[in-house]
Each structure stands twice: as structure tokens, then as C-alpha cells.
């Protein structure tokens, strides 16, 4: 009787299994977390193209993600860029500096190694999108990737 009472007064649940489970969950979320998703504006309605397939660049290429909404304004990491020209010029300078750090010399006439990823709303007019494209071309960006869905949501 006394033994049963003493056992009840000092009840300590074994926390080891629950800790194991929580650590497994943490491991799962750590593995699937993707910080690149922060660069994507998920409110955009991308164009639908059947042949568009995800291409894995294996993280080798340096990329510049540009979200262009229906009004033609540029959105980068949730921040709306009012001066598109200056932003792209700064990114071009950054790309040159990065290439220099990697040991490549890029003159003003050379093409930049950075790939511009265009994530534009399907409803944006061409004249608005073309402003972004021509600015990129003006500063030496040549490699472009257009993002699209391969199925309508």
C-alpha cells in the first residue's frame, strides 16, 4: 500500500519517446525548408505551358529572380522596386563583382553569367514586361528563364 502511494506521488512520465519523435519532426522540417521560396511572389498567376519542365541547375548558376505583377511593377523578396533601372544596374554590378571574385574577368561588353528568372503574371501587357527585359539586356544580362506552370491550378 505504502509502495503504491509512494509510486503515485512521484509520477514521472518517460519523455524519451516523445523527444525522439520531436527530433525526427525537426529533422524533417530542416531538410525540406527552402529559403529560395522567399524570393517568389506566390500571388502571381504564371502562364500555363504544357512543355514547361523544372530544370535543375544544381545551384551552380547565379540567378536574379524578378517578379513582375499585372501592373508591370517589380517585386523582389516582397519589396516593390520603384526604380527598375537603378535596381537592375546595381544587380549587374553585383554580378560582375561576383564573377570577378570567382576569377572571371568580365568587361562592360561581355555577357553577364547571371541568369535572370522572369516570374511574370500572365495578365501583364508586353509593353510593361518589355521595359524590364530591355533594361536587363542593356546591362548585359543575356541568359533568361521564363517561369511557367505546366498545369492549370
Amino acid at each position: 500500500m505504502s509502495a503504491a502511494m509512494s509510486h503515485g506521488s512521484s509520477a514521472e512520465p518517460d519523455l524519451t519517446p516523445i523527444l525522439d519523435l520531436v527530433f525526427q519532426l525537426i529533422t524533417f522540417f530542416m531538410l525540406v525548408i527552402n529559403f529560395k521560396a522567399a524570393a517568389l511572389d506566390t500571388s502571381l498567376r504564371l502562364p500555363v505551358i504544357g512543355s514547361a519542365r523544372p530544370i535543375d541547375s544544381k545551384g551552380v548558376d547565379d540567378v536574379l529572380v524578378l517578379n513582375v505583377n499585372k501592373e508591370g511593377s517589380l517585386n523582389v523578396y516582397g519589396d516593390r522596386k520603384s526604380d527598375i533601372k537603378r535596381y537592375i544596374a546595381n544587380e549587374a554590378t553585383a554580378s560582375r563583382m561576383l564573377a570577378k571574385r570567382k576569377g572571371k574577368t568580365i568587361t562592360n561588353d561581355d555577357d553577364l553569367p547571371t541568369t535572370v528568372v522572369i516570374r511574370a503574371d500572365r495578365g501583364v501587357s508586353f509593353n510593361l514586361l518589355n521595359k524590364v527585359l530591355t533594361e536587363c539586356q542593356k546591362y548585359g544580362f543575356r541568359k533568361f528563364t521564363f517561369k511557367a506552370q505546366n498545369l492549370e491550378k
Binding site: L25, L40, N130, Q149
Partner: protein, 167 residues
């Protein structure tokens, strides 16, 4: 003697307090759950977009483009495709060179046929686009160009865009 016994007991029953560790683990878990945002699966259309060059029309002999460079050697043999948009952004009319094309299916077959032809000598496609055309509609044509093959069986990767003046 009693002291010795106590020491022995305490070393035998070492029990870690897991509650604090569990609290920390739960906090980490809560952080990961709250910040978890699965990225959408998106397809890529990779293109090399050189700035518009003066066009040497391999067949039509037309010169189109907005480059300052007047050096004809720098020009590429370009297949000129024109797409006009309605005020609502849909495709109004399409043409290859000066020949009107009624549908996207016809445009696809003609572009594929022209680019595959070794006698054509086309190296890139120049898209002349109406300013009101929506990006979603334009991408249908870009997709057609992206899937086209050149005579050496490689995919076409060079595209140029020229914005047409407002009508």
C-alpha cells in the same frame, strides 16, 4: 559509512531532466512548422535573349530591328514572327514574315518546318509583339519557338523581342 552509501545511490540513479530539452525541441518544431512554405512546382523555359540586331532576312530580305550597330556581319539570320494583340490582351493576328497565319497550330507547324529546313539558315526567331498582348498569350508562341529544332537537331535557344508601336 552512511555517507558512502548515499554517494553510491546517487551515482546509480542518474536521471537527466528531459523536460527542458523537450521545451527547446518543441520551440524549434514550432518555428519550422510556422515558417514552412512548400515552394510551388514551376516549369522553366530557358532562352538566350540577345538585344535586337538588324535582321538579315534569309528568305524575305527584310531588315527589321532596333540596334545601333550597322555592321551587317553582326546580324543573325532571323525568322520574323509578328503577333498583334487585341486591347484585352488576346492574340488578334499572327504572321510569319508577311504571310498571315490563322491559328497557333498552323504557326507551330510552319515555324518548325522553316527552322528545320537547312536551306533557310535561320539562327534565331525575332518576335515583333504588339504592346497590348498579354504575357500569357506571348508565352504560347515562345513555347512553340522553344520546342522548334534547328537543322543540326539542336533546340532553338535564341529569341529577340521587338515591341511594335501602338496602333
Amino acid at each position: 559509512m552512511q555517507r558512502r552509501k548515499r554517494k553510491k545511490r546517487s551515482s546509480d540513479n542518474v536521471e537527466l531532466n528531459l523536460a527542458a530539452m523537450l521545451d527547446m525541441a518543441f520551440q524549434l518544431l514550432a518555428f519550422f512548422i510556422l515558417t514552412f512554405k512548400p515552394s510551388p512546382i514551376e516549369g522553366d523555359v530557358n532562352m538566350r535573349l540577345p538585344p535586337p540586331q538588324p535582321v538579315v532576312g534569309a528568305q524575305s530580305g527584310l531588315t527589321v530591328g532596333s540596334s545601333d550597330s550597322a555592321d551587317p556581319l553582326q546580324a543573325l539570320d532571323s525568322l520574323v514572327v509578328t503577333i498583334l494583340g487585341t486591347p484585352t490582351g488576346a492574340i488578334e493576328a499572327m504572321a510569319i514574315g508577311e504571310n498571315q497565319v490563322p491559328t497557333l497550330a498552323v504557326l507551330e507547324s510552319r515555324i518548325h518546318q522553316l527552322l528545320k529546313d537547312p536551306g533557310g539558315g535561320f539562327q534565331q526567331v525575332l518576335l515583333q509583339v504588339g504592346p497590348t498582348l498579354h504575357y500569357g498569350e506571348l508565352m504560347k508562341v515562345v513555347d512553340i519557338c522553344n520546342r522548334a529544332k534547328l537543322p543540326d537537331n539542336s533546340n532553338l535557344s535564341k529569341l529577340s523581342f521587338v515591341e511594335l508601336p501602338t496602333q
